[in-house]
Symmetry: C2
Subunit: 583 residues, 2 copies
């Protein structure tokens, strides 16, 4: 079996052609646009004219695909003239526009024929679709702008996937089913964590009190790990004159992603910050520094703004307001090794507490293209060696990725594995040999000579919003006690016990345990069901027996375990200990 990534991509790309053939057959006048393979599957875009497709139509399309597949013994490519291609696609304005794009790039125009279906395509298919393309599934329907630009027409996009074996397909579909249940957008609504308002706008989440607890607790943990290692908090505004980015070199790089800010009262040309490093460097630059001051470690959790395309926004995974638990370390070259060792220790402590496994990617420069990178090559070599040595010394699972470094320095990326086996790049520790010199940062060394410090960018949570998207799905909303927005629900079994229950509620409250009291006129089973759905770690039931004793509760967990009768003071003591240990 050929299970390499390229073959899977070809299989899926072939399947996209097959969907196109089926839809054009079923919906007269439909025009297919692009249909690439993507991570875990493929999509195919259509202008359906007056037709509308919903997910209910997918089985019918799949049937048609299977029928058409019978005649797809092979896929044949042919290079043609642009004129010929436009003639073939006289019925399809999108394909004709793509022909023009191909010409603009000075590439060849290729047609691809399977059975009676002809498509414009740059290649990458399986040879015998009829035999190879057995295990596919259409998954969903969405809207997507032609070329991703919301000024263009909205097309219909059909998502699907294909695998080499039934087993792999089934496994993937089960995973998708589980992911759907854990979808952070659904859980965010059900658990009242965050909210998108039409008046505020796309990609701009509002966090409710419960969602804000998650943000605050995660952030406090991340900051605490760094503060006890000498990081100092600083504060910067969210806007700046664009001069700052013209100096840093980001002005050209970020281009369209920058939100421009118009001052009506002054001539200042302002932008919202898309990163924090240039501001932090201005704080470093605000007074003379000596080697004795280094390393200087700034820390700030602050929100950056990036003008993402509307079509790319997705729940908390991709937002326009990105809150980073950022830090920037200024050091001598000799200190790099100790600093990376410290950053590895912080990261390990953080992800272990969150019960998330990780491996690291060592992102080096591409040795075949040395001109793509700035900074002293010797510094690069030694820094890459340091990073690798640190990964080995700490017995990290790592892999090397030449060509993955930014142009200004090598980095360590922390790749997190979630409960569904999906991998996410979260934290990163990034060397920077370039920016400090652009901002003329200096320190006076032992020998009295002025030198340029090295800068290290480091974020632990990375984007708080994106991390929450991952973490909510990782835990399916069953947050550990220390993070749970509500840690305990107090459930009296009847009205007569409400007063006793309120006293117990106050005991939790005074102990700074996040608690709610449920005095609704409902049966106990109804209350238990409700608070289980709210995924509250502990339910404290106060029945007549408990109320009589005065200091007793019956404790039940959200996963249905009955912990029996407990002394409330002992229980609170236990909870406080667990919270302290980040359990």
């Amino acid at each position: 079996m050929n299970n390499d990534k390229e073959y899977l991509n070809n299989l899926r790309h072939s399947c996209a052609h097959l969907v196109a053939a089926a839809v054009i057959d079923l919906y007269p006048g439909a025009q297919n646009a692009i249909g690439p393979a993507i991570e875990d599957g493929f999509y195919q875009d259509f202008d359906l004219g007056d037709h509308v497709i919903s997910e209910d139509d997918l089985p019918r399309i799949e049937e048609k695909m299977k029928k058409i597949l019978e005649s797809w013994d092979s896929m044949n490519e042919e290079i043609v003239t642009p004129e010929k291609a436009k003639e073939v696609f006289h019925w399809n304005q999108y394909k004709r526009e793509i022909v023009d794009d191909i010409l603009a790039r000075d590439e060849q125009v290729k047609l691809q024929t399977s059975g009676s279906f002809i498509d414009l395509c740059r290649g990458g298919h399986v040879k015998k679709p009829k035999e190879e393309l057995k295990y596919f599934k259409l998954l969903s329907v969405a809207g997507a702008y032609w070329k991703g630009n919301e000024k263009n027409k909205m097309l219909t996009r059909i998502y699907g996937t294909a695998f080499e074996s039934k087993d792999e397909l089934d496994k993937h579909l089960t995973l998708l089913e589980e992911a759907k249940k854990r979808d952070h957008r659904k859980l965010g609504r059900d658990l009242d964590l965050f909210y998108f308002s039409d008046l505020v706008g796309r990609g701009l989440p509002l966090f409710t009190p419960k969602g804000t607890v998650l943000r605050e607790e995660l952030n406090a943990f991340s900051q605490g790990l760094r503060q006890k290692r000498g990081f100092q908090k600083v504060w910067i505004p969210h806007i700046t004159k664009n001069d700052l980015y013209k100096t840093s070199g980001h002005w050209d790089k970020f281009g369209d992603e920058l939100f421009l800010v118009k001052s009506q009262e002054t001539n200042d040309e302002l932008v919202m910050k898309p990163m924090n490093c240039p501001h932090h460097q201005q704080i470093y630059a605000s007074r003379p520094r000596s080697y004795k001051d280094l390393p200087i470690k700034y820390l700030e959790t602050t929100t950056i703004y990036r003008d993402e395309k509307a079509g790319e926004l997705l729940g908390l995974s991709r937002v326009r307001s990105v809150t980073q638990d950022d830090s920037h370390i200024f050091s001598t070259p000799e200190q790099i090794s100790d600093i990376f060792q410290m950053l590895i220790e912080i990261s390990k402590e953080f992800y272990q507490a969150l019960d998330m496994k990780f491996r690291v990617r060592l992102s080096y420069r591409d040795p075949h293209e040395p001109d793509k990178y700035l900074g002293d090559p010797k510094l690069w070599e030694s820094a890459q060696e340091i990073i690798q040595k640190i990964a080995q010394q700490n017995k990290l699972e790592y892999y090397e990725a030449p060509g993955e470094a930014a142009f200004y320095g090598p980095k360590i990326d922390f790749m997190i594995l979630d409960a569904l086996g999906r991998e996410w790049q979260i934290a990163t520790a990034q060397l920077d040999f370039v920016q400090p010199s652009r901002f003329s940062l200096k320190y006076t060394d032992k020998d009295g000579v002025e030198k340029i410090p090295v800068m290290i960018h480091y974020a632990l949570v990375g984007s708080l919003e994106r991390f929450l998207a991952v973490y909510i799905e990782h835990t399916a909303g069953n947050f550990p006690l220390w993070l749970a927005p509500i840690q305990v629900a107090v459930l009296p079994v009847s009205d007569k016990i409400n007063d006793v229950a309120r006293k117990m509620f106050e005991l939790f409250n005074e102990a700074d345990i996040r608690v709610e009291l449920d005095t609704e006129a409902k049966t106990l089973p109804a209350k238990i069901r409700e608070w289980t759905l709210k995924k509250v770690p502990y339910m404290c039931i106060i029945g007549h027996k408990e109320a009589e004793k005065g200091d007793s509760i019956s404790v039940r967990t959200r996963d249905g375990k009955d912990l029996g009768l407990q002394n409330i003071y002992e229980f609170i003591k236990q909870l406080k200990q667990d919270i302290g240990k980040k359990i």
Copy 2:
């Protein structure tokens, strides 16, 4: 003696004319622009042509003023035609422009003559300047744009003041002298608290680690006082579609002060938020609410942005990035009284801890202009009664200010008195009968009917930046122990003792006391002078005697008190207690 405010304004305005006469006499070709009385004095603007005036020239100008004054027995007003006025001011383009402005407002053009000096002026003078205008002083020189618009020419502004008696003038000059020493911009630089970078821009401070300690500690105190009373943190982004403000009604009101945000990727019309209430109301609106949920108390410290005129920006007193410790309370009308009682308690606790006296201003609607205010008049009446009753019950020093309310509800303003006797409006608790209905906010009442909640805006520190400006000057940088960016400096008397000193330093560090260790090769007196200038509350001196004992330090305070030999563990224990008590 006539010491009312109007007379003082007339006196100062007359003095502005006198400066104009003197400068025009001394600097041929100089043109005087406007010269109004302001809080505590006056200013007079000039276009000096090629001349330049510095503060060194002020004594010479004062001399000339005194000479001219001899001929100013009276000030005479005369109404003239615009043509006549323009003829008189053929030499002064600014006065001619003002004549046009007066015409546009359909007002009378008046000339005012004293001795041989004629000025254009709308009136407000003393009758006999020669007798009345004896106690004046020119204070400083600055640049100021014509009409405050940076697109216009930069003029020269001379500031001065005048009083009715020598005693009052001397007292004021002493106060200015003291204020100058305490100027928060100077202390901010000397104590390394904040920094303005030319690349980032005007009105956009960067806070260093030390300044950030002040922000964080003040904010934590303010938030803690509210969290223990059931306020819940929320989080909102710093931008929004302008639709939010079109709905709230702020779009027209804020006009020029709004920073507009241009999205290059979408058609969204965005702005930076100039306040937080509309966003917080969207969180309230995100799900149905019952009377049982009220009051709902949201709390968030977040930065708003206002596009102030460049000429109005001043240190931290007036910035473009304003961080507010904001809160919004949603309640039933019946809950207003309890909520205000709670807010008074919070405010008292806060300002008492900071050793700042305050009185409150009860800002009511103007009973003569009921049409200027929105909302049910009965609700206004009862709310104003509640506010007054609360002020009385709490034995607050208060005064009533009809006409000072916003159009949407009455408020309590907390007016803080600083160490120099200056009064500042800081915290405010503001009722709002209007916005909740604009956003269609609802709650289901006991009777099952949907009703509109009342909203209360409340900030304690107000603007963190402005508060710090006031507070730095109030304390002259001698922050109390719990707030001091560095709480303790450990000073070994010689190199040989550095190791012992480092161990002591670590003891403070482990106790979470903000400490620095000074191992520079300097004499002890030099070290003491340096750390006294840095205004660090306690200096712990480790001499040979202390080093031998191993657990002893000699303690000295920043105001020069010698606390003698102390056991370090006892001393740390005492510090922790004092910090806990906000001493």
